[in-house]
Symmetry: D2
Subunit: 361 residues, 4 copies
């Protein structure tokens, strides 16, 4: 299990779905940044279950800052964050030991850890851990905001339905919408789709788009620490994420060079590109245009529908009904998680590029 992210802005996660809680230690945050639990809570509330259309698990996700902050400001020392688990019902998971749920880590985790893994709700594999990631991301996000960087995520596509929205729409609407849809005209369609999936005991995949404005030119250490590499590694560590693309991404495979190249021009004394097929990154380095990427999420693996699996003890095929509380579409709660994963990557790369000082004034 490797839950350590970053080189200069480092995050180490810990915790389990059905243990005492989840938490993390953030190392490398510059000193002098104002930080309160409420800053972090605001981000956590964006991914909190207990909303309609997401799992019925009901937790306050109250974060505690246990170190690294003194007199309201970061000290430069590691910041330990902790969130207690409150609403734990583990009984329902006991029977899963021998019948691995399709799409989950049950089988692979058991094989890898010799059966010693905490299998309750997949333990450390649970999306519950992303609460700690979002908490850490809230710190990165605040740090970036102080440098004028804005991160905007939304559900761009749900099942077959795709939206096409402006930054302003994302800002105004995405988090107002229970389904994280930034287009009020499409939102109802998202909800209908989710209701039918729920009714059918099924789940839906989705694509989250994330746009980052205000990044300076020159962020990203080409090749292994390219903007794309670091963001991709972070977002693909989110449960259920199965693909990532930057700018035109997979669509660029069907384009001509003359279509895909972004012509340079000058605007208000700043070098910009007319189009943004590159998604704001050239040679692994930000070019000053908005950074744009999309993450594909598979449908929630836990579905109410009866499924076929193998009983690994009896070696016989068996029917499986996954009890418990599950989202019809994991991506709905994943918007702040993707934003957090991006924030962690970018805070790290900004520090690597010395675009953020070690002491903030």
């Amino acid at each position: 299990m490797n839950q350590h992210y970053g080189k200069l802005f480092e995050v180490q996660l810990a915790g389990e779905s059905h243990g005492s809680g989840v938490g993390c230690i953030v190392q490398g945050c510059p000193a002098g940044m104002p930080l309160a639990e409420s800053d972090i809570q605001a981000e956590l509330d964006k991914r909190r279950p207990g909303q309609k259309l997401t799992t019925t698990r009901n937790e306050k996700d109250q974060v505690q800052i246990k170190s690294g902050v003194f007199q309201g400001k970061t000290t430069g020392a590691p910041i330990l964050l902790w969130i207690d688990n409150e609403d734990v019902q583990s009984a329902s998971y006991e029977k899963l030991k021998e019948t691995p749920r399709p799409g989950h880590a049950d089988m692979t985790a058991s094989a890898k850890y010799g059966g010693y893994n905490d299998y309750r709700g997949s333990g450390p594999f649970s999306a519950r851990l992303t609460a700690a990631l979002v908490a850490a991301g809230a710190i990165a996000r605040k740090l970036l905001a102080m440098q004028g960087v804005e991160i905007l995520g939304h559900v761009q596509q749900l099942h077959g339905i795709r939206t096409d929205v402006t930054d302003a729409q994302i800002r105004d609407y995405a988090y107002q919408s229970a389904v994280r849809c930034a287009d009020p005209k499409i939102e109802k369609k998202f909800q209908d789709e989710l209701q039918s999936a729920l009714k059918a005991g099924d789940s839906l995949g989705a694509v989250i788009e994330c746009r980052v404005n205000g990044l300076p030119v020159g962020v990203g250490e080409p090749r292994a620490q390219s903007v794309e590499s670091v963001i991709a590694a972070n977002v693909l560590a989110i449960p259920a994420a199965k693909g990532v693309e930057f700018g035109s991404g997979f669509a660029s495979a069907a384009l001509l060079g003359s279509q895909n190249n972004d012509a340079y021009e000058e605007k208000n004394g700043k070098v910009v590109t007319r189009t943004n097929h590159s998604g704001g990154v050239l040679g692994g380095i930000t070019n000053g245009m908005p950074l744009v990427f999309r993450v594909a999420f598979k449908p929630t693996s836990s579905i109410a529908k009866t499924q076929i699996t193998l009983n690994t003890k009896s070696h016989k095929q068996t029917e499986l009904n996954v009890a418990g509380r599950h989202d019809p579409c994991v991506a709905l709660r994943a918007v702040p998680i993707v934003e957090a994963a991006a924030a962690l990557a970018l805070a790290d790369l900004m520090l690597q590029a010395q675009k953020i000082p070690k002491v903030l004034k």
Copy 2:
């Protein structure tokens, strides 16, 4: 510039397109593995230019093993590989200093490195560096092959044309085909498409698919070192790569959970899944099914067609004709590069999971 890959199987690249050569140091290869320059040369020859439909730059790419091998076997010490540049024509690049080429790293590199970057052919940003990556990957590949792991890459999609092939077809045909097309019936269409692009002074995007067979269950350190995270970071460090997906990837966003979940069954005493939408990875860990991923490559940025750019000195819009030797589709040469990037990731993760011993017998 961060050209360091891996945690236990480490690669540090160096070199420039128009300098004395390119090379790397591989650290962490177990002792006792037979290794000759010819093993590496075989892989290098797969990406060598000088073939029809790729750049006319003509180099032998002769690799030298400068350390780490003794009496025909690896010693456990770092292996330094070096490839001299032979066919360097840098004159044509001089004028690019003030007129950054669209789609290239010219502008971002100049901004990041204060104008001190080697701008000839983009220097260290050049795809030339991937020769060193392929050389390092050849070592990883041999190490994996000794554990029964097979890596199969091919151009699955060129511009709008997509193939659907079997492993056997990739094995037999992909590297026989000048356009890395594993389907003999489609190959001609690929070539026609490339010829028209060349004639139009344009270039094409493509998708490379890579399949890895024979991986044991349990490879991948969940979250930050998940199979998806590490492979994604490596392949997105390849010039022109703009997206990556695993298994059903972006298509899974349009699927129902009941469609996308892979049911378990037992076959010949082994736990397998009936379908492979997961692409062989669950919870970041291999499940014993073939690992399948795809990488989107944008069209070659250098095109013969006249383009618009900015003269960064005069601050005026200007026309740009990129001279030099360029591929109509970078992805054609990228097949062994993607395979190498995957091999490096997997050799590293196999060592992390202790699936490869430190001394080979």
Copy 3:
């Protein structure tokens, strides 16, 4: 502040002297190891203040395992440990803001972190953090013990007095002795020395020796991860440690090669050396002989005696009386800390050398 140790057996510390507590996350511990809070508590009790001759700060240092253990065994997931601070009296430190204490990090921390550092008892610089290190070390230690590795520390030298003891004496006596002296005949002298220092309002330096038995041949990754390099880095991160030596160490500078070289011989079918001037390490790799190293600790910086310092606001020389609770010799409590630092280094190197499996049976 970099409180991250290790490559495969990783520890990330957090916490402050006068904050809510101290803790850590341990990542990389193999799955299947029995682990209870009592295992860790046993080590913590060895460094606990509240004993005669150490600081009068009185805390139970009760450790909580918050993650990574399920049904009494490690799961392979990160282990979060937390210890609440109980007996915090921070008022006495307020005045130190402007008058840095000689020998402490007050001045350097304030300069480095722009005055945002938690200056109460030096915050994260405090030896209090070593409770978290010892807690993490307890896990490493148990892991090593399962491989037959034994770690023996004691105060070899106090001020001018030096002992010369056997392994058996250390085993039987070091932790029985309040002054960690393994020689019952010398113990009284240690105590007298400490009493006079206390009476004089002064403090004493010391040397801790650590011996590690049972290490297999072949541990240590030569050069940057040599046994000496990794242990030295860990022990010199302990507050007040100012030197480290292996085997004959500094004394070997005054020896001839013919005196210092250890002749090989065979004993019970095992290759051993007649002497052990190397301290069990050759070329950075263990040779199967006992690993022996010594760590020099400066006298406690906090002394009751009036000292001279600078008032950094008034720029005037001033007298300073350091209130608070302080040990006459930090090294007395540092024995289990040095042992923990060594255990962390060796667990990491054993994993790097694949001498410990990823799943324990």
Copy 4:
């Protein structure tokens, strides 16, 4: 074998004593630094054998810069340095396969690498590799010099003889002296001592002292990346180094706190300490005073005298005469190596503390 140093200023070494040469890749050097082969050669010449009283192996150690420098300046890309081996006589080492030399890595390397290690002159374990370290260090050193940092090394103690010198003496005399003795009055004694050792077919240990002037306050990331930890790890990776101490080091173990604490005062508007027992580091962070440390070197393991060892094939005790060319005291050539190890550590920590910009003007 781990020959990778540093976090932001990274060095990866490669090569063997009796292979084609030694080299390294330096990653993370800021762009815009003037760098010529002559800059590096100057440092290499300081450790070059072929001087009286050091080994008779005679090589020019001509360094080649193969990448990362363009138009006389660093580009920000990795810098590959290579030095060919010229004077290789490996025949004399063949018989060592079965009779490990006392004090060398022969036995441990063979055990660790399953007998696949290059045993000729200990291959990658050879002090020959330090040529690559010195070459890399030359780059770090130039970078530091541009920030006003000066590094001064000398042999402070040879066998039983100790010197006590000023910075000026080191500057003027250490590298003028064939025995790296900064005190002209003591130099003759050093030489006599070495001559007797040579005549006796024996070797001598020594202590190298290193002083670093001009470091700003605030360098060092406390605990795992403390100034002491990083320097210690680097210098203990040098063959034959067996101990390191900072400031008063081991002597402080015999001091009182009131003696060892350095009182603060102000001098020319700068906070300084009256004494420098701390060696310029408090809490792992530089305090602006000279950084002072000492490294203990054991006597050269290769001696002309007949030694006893084990024939590992026949399992019988045997006499061993080590042929080849050897220094009577390794430390004589180690002065620039220790300086290089310190330079690498400090360049890295200066970058971590953002005390060196990413682009130099």
